[in-house]
Amino acid sequence: MGSRYRQILLMILVAVATFLVTMLLTNIRERKQEARQTYLPLANITEDTVDAAEWGKNFPRQYDGYRRTVDTERTRYGGSEAFQKLDQDTRLRRIFAGYAFSLDYREDRGHANSLRDQDETERTKKKPQPGSCLHCHASVIPAYRKAGGGDIRAGFEIVSAMPFAEARRLVTHPVTCLDCHDPATMQLRVTRPAFLAGIRAYYKKSQGVENYDPNATATRQQMRSFVCGQCHVEYYFAGDKKLVTYPWAKGLRVEEIEAYYEEIRFSDWKHAETGAALLKAQHPEFEMWSQGIHARSGVACADCHMPYQREGAMKVSDHHVRSPLLNVERACLVCHPFPAKEMMTRAEIIQTRNAKLLARAEDALVALIDEITAARSAGAADSQLAEAWKLQRQAQFRADFVNAENSMGFHAPQEAARILGEAIDYARQGQLAVLRLRAGRSAR
């Protein structure tokens, strides 16, 4: 009897072992399949497929990541939660007095929310905006092509000039797959007309290249930044047609962009307290990054914001585009041989220093606004305020260039500090100009 039980026990053991070996065999087989990186084309993807869910049928892993961009995460200075910057930094209400940004200045959320954010902002609801906004808030290229009778550039000009509500009816989806990928080959490509025009002007100025076309000549690594630079840039609406334009014809640095605006005598708004004609910086991530050490080292936006991740035997770039601070191990440690905590600390040291300097710049700017406002109510004429206005404009654009840029200085720490140093200097120079004016008046 004893030997019978032993036999039964042995049989169960062999059965379990066989079970496990079969599991292992299947697992190895699966991994081998994955390693081939084949994909199953279930949906037919065309130049008109704006719905990411359709692309997701063929590329479920990338789609899964994209969908996660609706998350609500905070980093120390940013994240994807739509917190109101005006409440967090009350100086901004005065700095932007008279402009739509003093009504609503919420932190932007992830890609999948880009159209909803546009629909919900008070800047669109309370102030009339043009169709231009859709250039970056929607998957808009098919709408451009349709409006332009096949010509994307022509359609872009037509749609941009429409009132927002009218243009809004032409689009259905936020920023999506089509905006960065060729539907036939999945190659990265840039589609935004304003970027194509902007980068052409920049390459002509910086490299002497005529008619630069990134889709034809850029390397894959360059494209991994260019696709982001399609929207994460400084821009303005040119002329009555409200054409989205990237002011890069003189270069990407803050003073070069400013010189461009000076030349065409452009202003975004007139300050409600001081009366100065001012510039609003948008979100010059591409410009700031291009001045930093990561850009110099050939590191693209996607390297840190969409790092590769392993899924089984496959290598997939993470389409959950987000702050690298939420994904330090994959984003930083591939190149930096330090623990994640150390990299996090390094980034936060840079950001905290920048935040402190930025606060000083904004204090200086508010002090200048106080000074000019006081001089005005004391009877200073507009003609006498020209110098102070010019200095407010210079200080405003620089402080804003760093504040609106979504990295709290990280993309180019020294460049950000240089810009803020200039901002403080111009603001204080502006105060001196007003003081001189008042001294002159009282002497008379």
Binding site: R4, Q7, T18, V21, N27, G312, A313, K315, E329, L333
Partner: protein, 152 residues
Amino acid sequence: MYNSPLPLLLSGLTGVFLGLSAYTFQFARGLAYFSNDPVACANCHVMNEHLDSWQKSSHHGRAVCNDCHTPQSLVPKLVTKADNGWNHSVKFTLGNFREPIRIRPVNAERLQANCIRCHGEMVSEIRETAGRNPGEVRCTSCHAGVGHGPRS
């Protein structure tokens, strides 16, 4: 006397198990792991990037994976292969490992020994003055790109 069918069933089952195991071993190219071929190290795909980057490195014409990552005498070499082979298979099968993959201290020692095996004469003076904690500064602390290419 009652003749039990159990022993027969048991030997049959064992045969199935052995056959399946042998096939799994063959399917997973198990024998390749006894070779020096760098491609074998990327059999299970986890080392794909390491193989790719090695091909871009200065050592690729001179040294294969085993020249740097395993000891050269037979028994320690097999022990190292078994140790790392086991870890790699378990982690890759279950999928619970941290990225990016980092070399373990014991493997870093093995690596350092191989640097010195070839370059010992050149660095003999440095080794004399390496300080109180040998191993604190490794060859690869500065020469990070020699085995797996530049990082950018």
